[in-house]
Amino acid sequence: MGLVSAYFRRGWTILRSEVLVLPSRLAVLLFIIALMAVPLFTQDYYILRILILTCIFAIFAASWDLLSGFTGQMNFGHALFFGVAAYVTALLNLDLGFPPYLSIPLGAVGGVLAGLVVGIPCLRLRGSYLALTTLAFPIILTGLVFAMPDITGGELGLSGLSRLTGSRVMDYYLCSSLVVILGFAMWKITDSKTGIILHAIREDEVAVRSSGINTIRYKLLAFCMSGFFAGIAGGLYAHFMRLAGPSTLEVSLSFQVIIWSVFGGMVSIYGPIAGVFILNPLMEVLRVALGNFPSLPEIRMFIFAGLVLVTLLFMPEGLIPWVRDKLENECPRCKLRNVFIRQRCRVCDTSLS
C-alpha cells in the first residue's frame, strides 16, 4: 500500500512539475484522455472507423517525420513501408494462419527490411535526388504486385484477413493505445542520444562524420526504425480493412503523409500526429456537411488544399509549432520552455521578457 502511495505521489509530482506547467503537454494529456474516453460517449461504427483510420495514419505520419523530419532523409515513397508491411501481414495471416498479434509485428519486420532495401542504395543520395529515388520504390513494387498475382492477388489484392480484434470498440482501443505508445516511443527516440545524432545528420552530415560518428549506420537505423513504425501502421490497416491491395502502395498515399506532416509541423513527432487528427476527420466532416453537393470529392479536396496552403503561408513551420510558440516561450539561458504568462523561467529564474 505504501509502495502504491509512493508511486502515486511521484506520479503526481511529475504531473504537476512537468506536465501541468506547459500548455503543450497539458494539451497532449487532455488529448489522450479524450481519445480514451470517446467510446464512453459514442460507439457509433462510423465515428469509430474514422478515428481508427486516423490513429493508423497518425502512426504512419509520425514514422515519416522520424525519417524525413528528424534525419532529413526526404522520403517521397513512404507508402512502400506501409504497403510492404500490409502485404507481409496479409500473407502471414492468410497463408500461415498467423493471428494479428503475430502477423502485425512480423509485417513491421517486413517494413524494416524494406527500409534497408531503400536505405542502402540511397545512402549516397541527398535532397531532391534522394526524394525522387525513394518515390520510385513503391512504383516498382506496384509493378511486382501486378506481375505476381498468384502471390499478391494482383489488382484485387489480398482480402479476407482476420479481424483486428473481436469488436469495433476493441479495435479502437488497440489503435488509439498504439498511437499513444508508439508516438511516445518515437518522441523518446528523437529525444535520446540517437535522436540527437539523427538531428545532427540532418543539419550537417559532414560535421557529424568528422566527429567520428558512423553516419551510414545511423541513416540506415533511421530507415529501419521508420520502416518498423510505418510497418505497424500498415499491418493494422490490413487487418482493420481486411485487405492489402495495390492502393497501399499508391503515390497519393506517399504524398498524403507529407501533407499531414508538413501541415501539423515537421520535426516534432506530435505535429504530424496532430496534423492527421485534424485533417483526416475534417474530410469526413466536410462529407457530412456538404452532403449531396455536386462533385463532393473535388470540393473537399479544394477546401483541404486551401486550408493547407493558408496554414503554411502564415505558419511555415506547421500548425502545432506555431500554436506552441504562441503559448510558450523558450528560456534564453537553460532552453527550457515556459508558459507565455511567466515573466521568469520556472527552473533557472532567468528573465523571459
Binding site: 501486378f146 489488382e155 480493412m241 485487405l243 491491395g245 470529392p297
Partner: protein, 427 residues
C-alpha cells in the same frame, strides 16, 4: 372573459393548423444507398439508373410492403473509390450506420467493393453489385454463405464470361471475314492497353487463338492507357498483315486507336473491348473515324427484352447520353422491389431468400442468380451484347442468331469497305 375567448381561439387555430400540417400516417420510406464514384461516368451511371427507377416506382405508389405502400428514398453515397479506398469505406459505413439504409446498390472498383462488401455483410444489408466484374466477390458467397449471402451481382456479367463473349465476338468476325473474303487463316494482332487487368486476356489470346481457334497471332502491342498517338503500332500491325485487331481498352487510348485506325484506313477489323466506343460521344470524339469499331456492351437500342428500348430511350432523353452498364442500378431497384413485395418485409434474411428465387426479365435479359449469387450468363439469360458503330449509330451486331438468340433490332456486322477492297485486291 374576452382574453379567455381570444386564448381559446388561438389555441383552436394552433390545434387545427397542426392537424392539417401533419401527414396522415405517411409510410416510412425504404432507404436505398447508391454507392459509386459520383464524379466519374461510372458513378453517374449508378445514380442516373437508380434515380430513374426510384422516380418510376414512387410515381406508381412505391413498394408494397405487406399492406402499406412505401416510397423509395435514395441516398447518394459518393465513394471516391478511384482515388481513395478508405474514403470509399467511410462513405459506405456512413450510409449503413448513419443513414441507416435498408439496401445498397452499386460499387465499381473491385478493391473498394471487397471492403464495402464486408461493411454491408457486418450490418447484414443486402448489397446488389452493379459495377465490379471480378468473380472473387461472388466466390465468397459459396465459401461462407451465412456471412456473404447478402451480396448479389447483377451487372456486369463476371469477368470469366466477359472473356468468353470477347472471344465469341472475335470468332464471329473471323468467320465473316473468311466467308466474305475467302481468307483461309485469320491473322490477329493483339492490342491491349498496358494495364494489369488486360494481362490475362493477352496471355489467353496467345495460347487460345492458335490452339483452339485456328488463328495466327502476328504480334502483341501494349500502348499506354493514355497514349495520344498509336500510328507506330498501327503501321506495324498493317505490316504484319493482320486481318483482325483484337482490342482490350478501357481508357482514352481506345479513342485514339479507333480514330487513327479509321484515318489510316488500316485493313483490319477492330473487335474486342473498347470502353470508349460504348459511350454515345464516341462518334463525335473520333469525328466519325471510329466507324466499324466493335465492342462488348450491355446496352444498345435493341430489344433484348421488351423493357430495353423504353429504358434506353428514356435514359437518353433524361441524361443526354446512352446508359453504361453501371446504370444497371435501374434493374437492381426493380429486382429489390419485386423481392420485397413477395416477402412483404424489408428484413434482409427474408429478402435474400426472395432474391435467390428471382426470375425476372430486366432491361439486359432474364435475371436468375446462381448459387454464388452471380447473375447467370448464357442463352435465354443475360448474354451481354456486341455493338458496332455504323453510320453514326451504335448498332447491336451480336448475338446474331447465336445459339438461337436474336434480339429484334440487331443488324448484321459490317466490314469496312477499305478492308474488303484491300483483301480482295490482295488476292
Amino acid at each position: 372573459m374576452k382574453t379567455l375567448k381570444l386564448f381559446g381561439l388561438v389555441f383552436a387555430a394552433l390545434v387545427l393548423s397542426f392537424a392539417l400540417c401533419l401527414p396522415a400516417g405517411a409510410a416510412a420510406p425504404i432507404k436505398i444507398g447508391v454507392l459509386g464514384p459520383m464524379s466519374f461516368t461510372q458513378g453517374e451511371g449508378h445514380w442516373n439508373g437508380a434515380s430513374m427507377a426510384a422516380d418510376e416506382i414512387n410515381k406508381a405508389g412505391g413498394i408494397k410492403v405487406g399492406k402499406e405502400m412505401r416510397p423509395i428514398e435514395l441516398v447518394k453515397v459518393d465513394t471516391n473509390e478511384f482515388l481513395s479506398i478508405p474514403d470509399a469505406t467511410n462513405a459506405a459505413e456512413l450510409a449503413v450506420r448513419r443513414h441507416k439504409v435498408d439496401f445498397l446498390v452499386g460499387g465499381f472498383r473491385t478493391e473498394a467493393v471487397l471492403v464495402m462488401q464486408d461493411i454491408a455483410m457486418d450490418a447484414k444489408k443486402v448489397f446488389i453489385g452493379c459495377g465490379a466484374a471480378h468473380p472473387a466477390l461472388c466466390t465468397k458467397v459459396t465459401k461462407d454463405y451465412d456471412r456473404y449471402k447478402y451480396w448479389f451481382r447483377l451487372t456486369p456479367i463476371n469477368s470469366k464470361f466477359l472473356g468468353k463473349v470477347d472471344f465469341i465476338l472475335l470468332g464471329t468476325v473471323a468467320h465473316i471475314m473468311k466467308k466474305t473474303l475467302g481468307i483461309k487463316k485469320i491473322k490477329v494482332a493483339v492490342v491491349a492497353e498496358k494495364a494489369a487487368w488486360a494481362d490475362p486476356i493477352v496471355n489467353i489470346s496467345k495460347k487460345l487463338l492458335p490452339a483452339k481457334m485456328g488463328m495466327e497471332v502476328v504480334g502483341v502491342w501494349r500502348p499506354s492507357p493514355v497514349a495520344k498517338d498509336c500510328t507506330a503500332e498501327l503501321s506495324a500491325i498493317q505490316r504484319a498483315g493482320a486481318h483482325i485487331v483484337f482490342t482490350t481498352f478501357s481508357s482514352s487510348v481506345g479513342l485514339t486507336f479507333a480514330k487513327q485506325m479509321g484515318e489510316l484506313k488500316v485493313p483490319a477489323a477492330a473487335v474486342g473491348i473498347n470502353v470508349e466506343s460504348q459511350k454515345s460521344g464516341f462518334w463525335g470524339a473520333t469525328g466519325g473515324k471510329g466507324e466499324y469499331a466493335e465492342t462488348i456492351n450491355t446496352y444498345a437500342r435493341v430489344e433484348i427484352t421488351p423493357k430495353t428500348i423504353p429504358f434506353y430511350d428514356k435514359y437518353v432523353k433524361l441524361y443526354k447520353q446512352a446508359p453504361n452498364y453501371t446504370a444497371g442500378t435501374y434493374d437492381a431497384l426493380y429486382i429489390l422491389k419485386e423481392a420485397v413485395e413477395r416477402v412483404g418485409t424489408v428484413d434482409s434474411d427474408k429478402v435474400v431468400s426472395a432474391l435467390e428465387k428471382t426470375d425476372y426479365i430486366d432491361t439486359a435479359g432474364r435475371v436468375v442468380f446462381d448459387k454464388s449469387h452471380d447473375v447467370t450468363w448464357g442463352p435465354n439469360y443475360v448474354t451481354s451484347i456486341g455493338t458496332q458503330w455504323q453510320d453514326g449509330e451504335m448498332k447491336c451486331v451480336w448475338p446474331y442468331h447465336w445459339q438461337k438468340v436474336f434480339y429484334k433490332g440487331t443488324v448484321p456486322y459490317k466490314l469496312a469497305p477499305w478492308i474488303i477492297d484491300y483483301w480482295k485486291n490482295k488476292k
